[in-house]
Each structure stands twice: as C-alpha cells, then as structure tokens.
Subunit: 331 residues, 2 copies
C-alpha cells in the first residue's frame, strides 16, 4: 500500500506476468498496469476473467463502495471528481469505476474525455478506470461486482462507481454498492423521472446538483414528498444540495455518505446487505448459465422451431417447457 | 352459444362429468358450473390444471381481453360493473375475471362482497368469477392467461380482467391483455404512483375516475405531461374522465377501448401482441420449471448449503453455479 504514495513505476513489463495470480501480486504492490490488465480480463469474461474472479473472491477483501447515478448531464462526473478531492484531502486512497453500458469502449477511451478527472490522473492515491460492455456473460451487472472485488483484493479500500445514465442496468450497477447516491437537477419532472427509474427505492442519499439554478427548492420538496409517501425504514435518505462545478456542498455530501456507511455498520445492515448482494449475484450467474444452455438447445434445432410452435398454437407452453427441460437434462 | 340466453340450467350433475374434455363440452353448451369447475382446476394447477390448459390451448379460440388496474379504492369494480352494463346494452356477452393475488379465496368468497355486481349475477350473458392464489405453479401471472384461454374456448368472446391493486403481479396480469385500462383518482400523487408502478408503459387507456372530485383537471394534466415525457408510439393513450358510481363517461371509456382494439387490429399489432404474450408465457413457464428444479437441488442437500457457501466466501458464485448446473443435468 505504501508503494501507492509514489508515482506508479511498473516493476516489470506487465505482458510478461500474464498469469492472474502474478498480476494480482503486482497490482497489490502498486502496479497500476497490472490492475488495469486484470480489469480488462474481468471485463472480457471467459476463462481468464473467471480465473481472476475466483482469485479476488478468495482474497476475502471487501471495499467500501459508493454508487453514483442520475440522468445524463446531471453532473455526476463533476460530483465524483469533487468527492475524490475530498477523500484525498482526508488522506485516503480511492478507486473510481466509470460504467457505461452503452459503450463498447473502456479503459483509456472514455477516460480521455473525462477532462475534469485529469487533476487526479497523476495522483498515485487515485485509480480511475472506465468499464464498458465487452464479452462478459451476464453483462456489466455481473462484471461490475467482480471488478469491485478485484479492486478490493488489489488493496483499494474505497471505490466510487459512476454510471452514465439511469437505465435498468445502470440502476442495477449503482445499487449493487454499499451506498447509492442519486443525483437529480432542479428541472421539472426530474424528481418524477428518478422515481420512475426505481431510484427512490435504491437511493441512500439524494443530491440536488446545480442547486444554484431556479427550482432547486421545489425539486427538493418533490423528493421529500415522495419519500414521505414511501414505506418508512430505519434510514431516511437525506437530500443534499450541491453545486459540483464550484465544490459547494460536496463536503456535506461526503459526510452524509459516511453517516450512511456508519449507520450500516452500526445496525449490522452492511454484512446483511453484502450477503444479500452475493446471493443475488449467485442467482444471476446461475440464471445466465441456464439461459445460455436454454438458448443453445433452442438454437440447436433438436426441437425444431419450438418457440414458433408455441406462438402458432401447435404446442402448448407447458408441453414446450417440458420438452426443452428434458433435452437440457439429457445433454 | 344460444344456450347462454337462457338462465343456466345444468344439463347434468357436474361432479359426474369430471373429465376435462367433457366438462369443456358442457361449458361450451352453456353450463356455468362446468366452466367454474374447469377454472378451479386451472387455478389449482397440477395435473388436472395442465390437462385443462392443453385442451383450451388446442381449441385455438381467443377472446378479446381488457385489463383494468389501479390503486385499491380507485373504483375499478364500479367501472367494470358499468362497463358490463354498456357491453350488455350492445347485446354482447361478457366474462369478468376478478383477480386478487393477496387472497387465498376465490369463486364465491370474494364474489359475495361484490355487491354492485349482483345486478349481473342472474344475467346469463355475463359470467363473473374471482381468482386467487391457489396451487398454480407460477402463480396468477401464469394462471390468468390460462383462465382467459379457457373462457375463450368455452365461448366467451370478451373478458374483462379486474385486479385489486397495483403490485407487480397485478400489473403483470392486467397488462397481459389486449387493452390495459389504468384507473387513477383526483388525488395528489396518484399520477406519480401510477408512473412508479410502471403503469405508464402498460396503459392503453387512462381513466380519471371520481372526476367530480377536486383536482381532476390537475391529475389529468399530470398524466398528459408524463405521456409527453415518454417515448411516443403509434398509439397515445387517451385520458377519459368518469364518475363510475353514476355511470358518467363509461360509454366514452368503452368507445376508447373499442378504438384501441380497432387500432390493434388495423396495424397488425393484435396478432403481434398475442404472439409476444405467448412467447413470454412460454419463457415464464420454462423459468418456473427450471426454478422448481433448481430449488429441488438446493433443498436436496446434495451440494450442502451452497448458498451459504457463497455468501460466506467459501465458494465463488461461478463455481457454485457450475456445481448446481452439473447436478441438475445429472438428475
């Protein structure tokens, strides 16, 4: 960990240490290119990805994770950038995972556009990485938890996850963290849109960013009203006003994130939440595996056009399901 | 079909004709107790339910279906009652399926409470039935499409499906029809709640019921604004004002439902919608079958406490999924 306070100086050429466990040792020792390579392996899935996943899983290390989501243009990147500054001012190291389900590019590609993040690009206490849809079976919803475990295994105790939009995958990704921050703007309908995207249920902290714009008070009131309407739990998401471009309110946001993490630790919710996430992940992996096998049977033609037979009323759905399951088990 | 214009007079004791195909013949001949018995078989699932499902599937007959959903107390029952009056005034026969996922009771139990429906109880051109969660694998989301096919096979060309609430199952059930009617009231937040429940995407027709109450114009405006914000399609859901208790606006509602069904027929959407529903149903049946087998493996103990092993970091999710799939295929 102390290596990370020095500018990254790869101890050896990464291409020569392609075995996952040697790469992980290098990553733990502060080799950023090794970590980047491991993350690409996770992203691309397949056999190497799986070896990396098993390795980081066995390390047993877990990072504190914070997801930041909200509509495009709401200022998530600026907020994350400012949060990094705040965290670094406290002397902690921090990883950032920028997730874009709509992009086939990752790593340097998007990163080049993240101009604001350049302040941190040379800081060895910050590791920034973009992730996009590559070959991973199950997509980003499954690749991201693996990436987070890998970063934890490599010695990054805190990771911020930023998503580009509020589609189903983004919300899934952002809510698969310890603390989920939902960013809205003072715009008509923004609170409603957040609600519609299912964010009300997943948000642990709300941010009204660009709070110096007209309508901020109304947006905040909308959020509070919607929170009033929801089922009360032990934690009521606070609503924080920020102006990310000027850094206003970011320290308070960080304090609320910390308060939420403390709350989770105090009432045992953190362990429970992580266990539930793991169980959900296991079932998702299982579902993806089953789906792959089912699609293979359907595509294999052994059963003819089974789906067509159903929709054309030649075979009833139960008969069709039985035929498929029998074929699946005989394989 | 002509038998139905006569008061139901069972041709023979239903208990003696328990074979599904004989029951169905009796139901087609206008025997209401035979149809009721078949519906109970569908509801309870298992082998008899499956035989009934196959039988109605093979008939190939389909009913025009209209789902009516909305928050409890929004006046769905009154609306459905009035719609039945309108349909009967046009000389058509109509079935009503009242679906309650929260109740273990069906048939007569809930029906006794449906005081308003008593006007139609003696009308041989109306068949009313409540459905609740019984033994059907896959629950009401799978039992209702089967019940609708059965009613179509028994010669009921139009069925209204009423759900009690706006939970996920209710929305699923109501939207598995040709035309989905969403009922809201002039209450603060009702439009937002409808949006939250995912009803904006599934509604073909909106109803602001109790439109003589204050706030009706605002609720209507909220709905129109949310429709403005959604992705435009070939059909924009109309918003109809009604006062169901007085019958106001019900004829217009029926006209809009008819207009939607005409629209679906004209642009080929009806056939496509029904095929998609069938494919979804097949995949749901398949999913339920797989889940049952997976749970059997997990419960069987052959793999020990596999889920516990995952959440306690002893086995990684991929390894666990593989072990389970292998066990499943060896069975």
């Amino acid at each position: 960990m102390t290596d990370r306070t020095e500018p990254a100086e790869p101890p050896d050429d990464v291409s020569e240490v392609s075995h996952p466990s040697r790469l992980l040792s290098a990553a733990v020792g502060g080799n950023r290119r090794a970590l980047a390579k491991l993350l690409t392996m996770v992203e691309c899935g397949g056999r190497p990805g799986r070896a990396v996943a098993a390795l980081s899983y066995r390390s047993g290390r877990e990072a504190a994770t914070v997801g930041v989501t909200g509509a495009p243009g709401s200022g998530k990147s600026s907020l994350v950038d400012r949060l990094v500054t705040t965290v670094r001012a406290e002397g902690e190291t921090v990883g950032v995972l920028a997730v874009d389900p709509t992009s086939p590019f990752s790593g340097g590609a998007i990163l080049g556009d993240r101009v604001r993040m350049q302040d941190h690009a040379l800081d060895p206490g910050v590791f920034i990485r973009s992730m996009a849809t590559r070959g991973h079976l199950g997509g980003l919803a499954l690749a991201v938890p693996e990436a987070l475990r890998l970063m934890a295994a490599a010695g990054w105790p805190l990771v911020l996850v930023e998503t580009v939009g509020v589609g189903q995958v983004e919300v899934e990704v952002a809510s698969a963290t310890d603390t989920t921050v939902v960013v809205v703007n003072p715009r008509w309908g923004d609170a409603i849109q957040a609600n519609k995207a299912g964010l009300l249920e997943t948000a642990d902290v709300f941010v009204v960013n660009k709070a110096d714009n007209p309508g901020a008070a109304e947006t905040r009131r909308h959020l509070e009203q919607m929170l009033d309407l929801s089922v009360p739990g032990p934690w009521r998401p606070p609503v924080v006003d920020t102006v990310a471009t000027e850094g206003t309110g970011v320290d308070q946001l960080w304090a609320e994130i910390r308060r939420h993490q403390q709350h989770l630790e105090d009432d045992g919710g953190l362990r429970l939440r992580r266990r539930r996430r793991l169980e959900r992940e296991f079932r998702a992996v299982l579902g993806a595996g089953i789906e792959r096998r089912v699609e293979a049977v359907l595509a294999g033609g052994e059963l003819g056009g089974l789906v067509e037979d159903v929709v054309d009323h030649r075979v009833d759905p139960y008969e069709a399901a039985d035929r498929l399951l029998d074929t699946l088990q005989r394989r």
